[in-house]
């Protein structure tokens, strides 16, 4: 008897779920909404500013080419290298060297952002970095300087209903 009651209970539980809203969202048609515009770092206070850690953005006019980010990345993923950009003349950066990031290696830990004392390297909330070949994952300084595209609509967010959660 207990067997049957418990079995009916589990059937009831399963059937209850049938009438609730679904959890999944249809990724290429809908995209996840991410709050803020990425992880930043305040070098004076030594504290990061909350945000999603996606692909980087490089402010060329602030970068001095000090290579601190490269040194930080050495032990983590060796994704950053310094590259000479001859046609960029910036007063603080005499040698015109800037970081380039290989996203096939990057682990998005964001310690390069923490390492930068000049607020030149931040992370954005762009996470869709896919490609058919490894070469196009290597972002040159000019590519890194481009702010990320606005995510196409519709974006969805996790919502809490009465007894269910759903994306909407």
């Amino acid at each position: 008897m207990v067997f049957i009651i418990k079995m009916l209970n589990s059937i009831r539980s399963g059937m209850n779920q049938v009438f609730k809203r679904r959890m999944t969202f249809r990724y290429p048609d809908q995209r996840l909404f991410i709050e803020g515009d990425g992880y930043k770092y305040d070098p004076k206070a030594g504290i990061g500013i909350n945000g999603y850690r996606g692909r980087h953005i490089l402010y060329l006019e602030k970068c001095t080419g000090c290579s601190l980010c490269v040194m930080m990345c050495q032990g983590i993923s060796q994704a950053i290298e310094m590259k000479n950009v001859p046609n960029k003349q910036i007063p603080v950066n005499k040698k015109s060297i800037f970081p380039q990031i290989d996203y096939s290696k990057c682990v998005y830990c964001g310690f390069c952002v923490d390492a930068c004392p000049f607020e030149a390297l931040f992370e954005t909330n762009e996470y869709e970095i896919v490609s058919y070949d490894r070469e196009s994952l290597l972002f040159t300084p000019e590519q890194l300087a481009i702010p990320p595209k606005k995510r196409p609509e519709p974006t969805v967010n996790l919502k809490y209903g009465d007894s269910d959660v759903y994306h909407g």
Binding site: K6, R12, E35, I47, G48, G75, I76
Partner: protein, 360 residues
């Protein structure tokens, strides 16, 4: 009766990245020899070549499901050597992250338990509900899985205020859904029949073999590092340690269910009590004086300990990682003896063995 030797794994839906060499007599397992090492990365060696900060993203890699729990003792050891006291707000945020991770890891446990028992609904529900907590962790730490969030001296960034409201909603929802979990899975008569009394690890054996985590508590030992060897702000929080004297696979799953409830209670308390203030000491440089430190925390799967030796240089001299899975590996030959082949998956997964974590 003639014996049959069966290699379960590494390419088997019920093993993960490891191999268990079984010897069967009829349908009963008479010997089980675990053979780990398929995902060994040598993190202990590589940690000797990286600075203390550079180690953080790497040392959480073996335990991705429980990234905060994996890195927590390392941070504690470094801070112990550096002799610094972390701001209280940072301590609370650390505890919140650790408990979120515990829920995430336990949900994964329930999911795989479900699919190992052929219960596809129990696979999908926890995986879906994990998203709720991953989303919360993403709001706090800025990443979904590998946070690299804890650093010596605090946490990397402050927690946004929106988390309070969302976490409350998430906990409310999930507490309701946990009841459904119990109805459909834990109290399902077929599941009870299959796992009650299977994979017995007696209290004496559990103590003798030095088992940790939910497996230990399912064997009737009320031990939890959060209470025994309290760290961070756990001594200010009020929570229970679920213990079961049944010593079987079912009670191991039950312990996980109860721990998720306790974790939610801890998160609620933390969000209520969290003080304002700084979240990180402004350390210009991580300079670790020579010495050695042993630190342990209760990660999701059990006691995770680091033995850190520093010689005062930029990199650690020796990092010894002892993960709960590696310590629970010793139970596999013990509890698998005498169970049926069909009970291999619940017995194996009951101890929450995660090959990557064990191999490091």
């Amino acid at each position: 009766m003639s014996k049959l030797s069966l290699s379960v794994g590494p390419q088997h839906p019920g093993s993960g990245h490891m191999r268990i060499i079984l010897t069967l007599s009829g349908d009963y397992i008479i010997e089980a020899i675990p053979d780990p090492g398929y995902v060994h990365r040598g993190e202990e060696k590589l940690a000797e070549y990286r600075t203390y900060i550079q180690n953080i993203p790497h040392l959480e890699r073996p335990v991705l499901l429980d990234a905060t729990g994996a890195i927590f003792p390392y941070i504690l050891a470094v801070e112990d050597l550096m002799n610094i006291i972390v701001p209280e707000r940072a301590q609370f945020i650390r505890v919140i992250m650790a408990e979120l991770n515990r829920i995430i890891s336990h949900l994964y446990y329930m999911a795989i338990y479900g699919i190992f028992m052929g219960h596809s609904t129990m696979f999908m529900w926890p995986v879906g509900d994990r998203e709720v907590f991953i989303d919360l962790a993403n709001n706090i730490a800025g990443q979904r899985v590998s946070y690299a969030f804890l650093v010596p001296g605090g946490v990397r960034n402050d927690m946004p205020e929106i988390v309070k409201e969302r976490a409350e909603k998430a906990c409310n929802y999930f507490e309701k859904h946990l009841i459904e979990y119990e109805r459909i899975f834990m109290n399902n008569p077929l599941f009870e029949k299959r796992t009650k009394g299977v994979g017995i690890l007696s209290k004496q054996d559990a103590i003798r073999l030095g088992v940790v985590g939910p497996t230990l508590r399912a064997s009737g030992v009320k031990s939890d590092v959060r209470k025994d060897d309290t760290y961070s702000v756990y001594d200010q929080l009020d929570f229970e340690i679920p213990v079961s004297n049944a010593c079987d696979s079912w009670s191991r799953a039950w312990i996980h269910m109860e721990e998720m409830r306790q974790s939610m209670s801890i998160i609620r308390q933390c969000l209520k009590r969290i003080p304002a203030g700084p979240v990180k000491l402004n350390l210009k440089q991580i300079k670790v004086p020579p010495g050695e430190s042993f630190s342990r925390v209760e990660a999701a799967r059990g006691t995770l300990s680091y033995y850190l030796i520093s010689d005062g240089g930029k990199v650690p001299y020796r990092v010894r990682i002892m993960t709960p899975s590696f310590r629970n590996l010793i139970t596999i030959p013990n509890i698998m003896k005498g169970v049926m082949l069909a009970d291999m998956p619940p017995t194996y997964w009951g101890i929450d063995y995660w090959p990557v974590e064990a191999d490091r």
